[in-house]
Symmetry: C2
Subunit: 236 residues, 2 copies
């Protein structure tokens, strides 16, 4: 309803527009290269030629160089001064990315348990409830979406911008692989149990419990991805 307050200062609080809507060439190259690297389309140690890449993408070398700088900082390629960049990704690299994500995601879960408010608690439990339903019906697309919402919600509840951003960079698989995972009923059930345990711990304000369950979840599910992508078991 129209409040009694002074005119202006509209009270329909909109979220900021996501500026990352707009696609730049360097972003496209960055994403494409990242995806290619983590799906193993480059051999570890393989040299990358800037001019060839630019030709393949049909662009100049400028955005290529920028994308390579991003990949370098992410740790997916290594730049040897005046010699070019080489691919720096293998199963052991992926294992460490899991560990990094486990460490960071459990830290953020710890903080979320401390900082979540009543509204957030309800929302979290609601997501968990929907997860139960989707697990039973077995809809993989729903599960993928819910899984994203679940972790995003925890990130927001922790009020940690930097950590959330850092975690995003520790993903070494993309949507297509996730779908495969969620097709397995056993895996679905495990993931659900873990998600419920995490949600309960966070909602109960049990920071240590949230930390522990989140860490176990990330490591275990990460190992599942590892074994599928690299056809072998990972270990902590």
């Amino acid at each position: 309803m129209a409040a009694d307050n002074l005119p202006s200062s509209g009270n329909a609080d909109f979220e900021k527009i996501d500026a990352s809507f707009q696609m730049t060439v360097r972003d496209h190259v960055h994403r494409a290269m990242r995806s290619a690297i983590i799906s193993g389309r480059f051999a570890p140690g393989q040299k990358i030629n800037e001019r060839h890449l630019a030709e393949q993408f049909g662009v100049s070398t400028t955005p290529i160089k920028e994308a390579l700088r991003q990949l370098e900082t992410e740790g997916l390629v290594e730049a040897l001064p005046r010699r070019g960049v080489i691919i720096k990704f293998s199963s052991s690299w992926a294992e460490e990315m899991i560990l990094a994500r486990a460490a960071l995601e459990s830290m953020i879960a710890h903080l979320a348990a401390k900082r979540i408010d009543e509204k957030g608690r309800l929302e979290l439990q609601s997501i968990a409830k929907h997860m139960k339903e989707a697990t039973i019906s077995g809809d993989p697309d729903s599960l993928i979406t819910l899984n994203e919402r679940f972790h995003d919600h925890i990130h927001r509840s922790s009020q940690c911008g930097y950590l959330a951003k850092l975690i995003e960079r520790q993903q070494f698989y993309d949507a297509s692989i996730r779908r495969v995972i969620h097709l397995d009923p056993t895996e679905r059930q495990k993931a659900l149990d873990e998600h419920v345990a995490i949600a309960d711990a966070i909602a109960a304000g049990d920071a240590d419990g949230a930390e522990r369950t989140m860490r176990d979840h990330v490591v275990r599910s990460g190992d599942t991805y590892l074994s599928i992508i690299f056809k072998k078991e990972g270990e902590i």
Copy 2:
């Protein structure tokens, strides 16, 4: 002109690049900018102009853009497509960098305790012994060097290349600040006790103990840095 104090705002004036210096220009710019940002010579949210920066450094915009890409991936600046980059560093960002380092460094300590060999054990204890001596004599430069060797050694013992690299990017202070810290005898003693506890846990193969003591150490010493740099206490 230039502000000497740490977390103030305003512009940072850089010396022109020494052309005879060998390192690549982008690397120089990256380091200089990183150092400028984490020592507060830019205000949070401040816009960065590529051309102005290029002029200050006396170089073209190409290496500037590359350095900015690196800073962006590190999370120290944010790039708004076609609008430029803004500084993304504040005390809260620094707090989160501590948490990230605590999470990662404790994970690596955990692994080091599991993977360290006899030679590594002896070397670790040797470093700890030297630390005791340097703490007593109170030589700050020695302590800084030893501190670096200590953590480096743990990183190597963990056999984790990716994690070690990731940790390096979570430092938000540089050598000059460290010196200040090590001048305080109380701080020196605390750091020593923690280092000894970490070394003992790792040498004993106590992974959980190593993890816990490392985490406590990083958080506590990080808070000390926070309080000095931002003149206020940090909290977990």
